[in-house]
Symmetry: D2
Subunit: 130 residues, 4 copies
């Protein structure tokens, strides 16, 4: 079963856009940040960096639910499961003060080799995610 | 019928990530950039900025198809149509040298007033998009 | 005398560039982030946002001293003092694990009104910084 | 003598910040973008990428002179000269419509090898810059 990972972060001043809230790309950055922290928390970074493979995003779907302002505290929840040959991340951003959702995302990733050919999920990772 | 808008751009040095290609957020920036240029090309900026309404993204779905490298020339094609009360943008990024697709995106936007309540598409814009 | 403010942060995955370390603009973001946190920590945000004035950067000088990698923990130290009509921030980024400097910056800011004319530092802020 | 390089660019929608103009980091991106284009225009990219050396920034000093708004057309002028073992870039951003300066920057770069040790400017590049 997928392990759930929780990350706490606070909106930074330079992340605001002309509407005075964080813009679309910043949510995407938060989701990516949480995926890296997920791999780190599960101690999967060594197997990712030592392998000859790269993990690349093929699809991302973000639903924006609420605007987010300066200094807001956010919780990013991430879970990951295999859907061979893809890895699927389900993530959501929740406002800490109200527990209301700010955004959610589904991201599909695949391992590719140096010739950019799709490859299976490495066994070590597969075992760890189950 | 939706008007099609075409934007040409070249990948910049500071947009590369640790895989030495542009990362996910940069594609999203390119799509947003092309949406602004779309509104500008159709002379819709005055009606957007003078109105009391803000146009916010509710959904974005990006499919990444090919990696993109430094100095590559890209074509961003955008078309927009109303799906009341939403505006829908269909966009794709094509590599100019090979005509191969690099990414495509569907983005859903809605007008909101100062209380963040959803509002209809302004008539002037609706007429212009038909 | 200037109060010193300390901020702890960890390098995020999406902040890496093609050399696999954080690039120049990310250091600048960290310094800006720390200046916002400085104003927040000293409870100066209300006086900044309620005033009719904007605080804008006129000069920034960054000296890059060491490269910074994924997941590194960094300390950003900030102090601020008035040099009428400017505010001067002296900041440095230190690697937490080794206590070695990664970068330092001097940033000069000025208050401007809605016509972009330079204005004096508001008295409340001036008093608070002494 | 240093060759002067000129780059034309237009401000993009996603580059605006909460003051509704481009923020400090965007100017820095523009200057970096222009340096890459400088190397490309002088056909120096092959010697940079084939060499075992990396070119890293050690100092950047930006003076911000005027705010820059959405869709403004900007000219970035760059010249580069050796100051052994450093490369020095002198750059400025000018508003195309008024010819008024928006910012200027001095950037100091140095070549480092894989052990991050400073190295001389490669002869081929040195010859090209004189």
């Amino acid at each position: 079963m997928a392990e759930k990972h929780t990350l706490l972060l606070t909106v930074r001043g330079y992340e605001l856009d002309s509407y005075n809230h964080i813009n679309n790309a910043v949510y995407l950055n938060y989701f990516e940040h949480a995926r890296w922290e997920y791999f780190k928390a599960l101690d999967l970074m060594p197997s990712l960096t030592e392998s000859e493979l790269s993990l690349v995003v093929t699809d991302i779907h973000i639903r924006y639910q609420r605007e987010v302002k300066l200094f807001e505290e956010l919780i990013v929840e991430s879970s990951c499961f295999p859907e061979k040959p893809y890895l699927i991340f389900q993530q959501r951003i929740i406002k800490k003060s109200t527990n209301l959702p700010a955004a959610r995302a589904t991201t599909k990733l695949i391992f590719v080799d140096k010739e950019k050919m799709a490859r299976d999920i490495p066994d070590g990772l597969l075992k760890r995610l189950k």
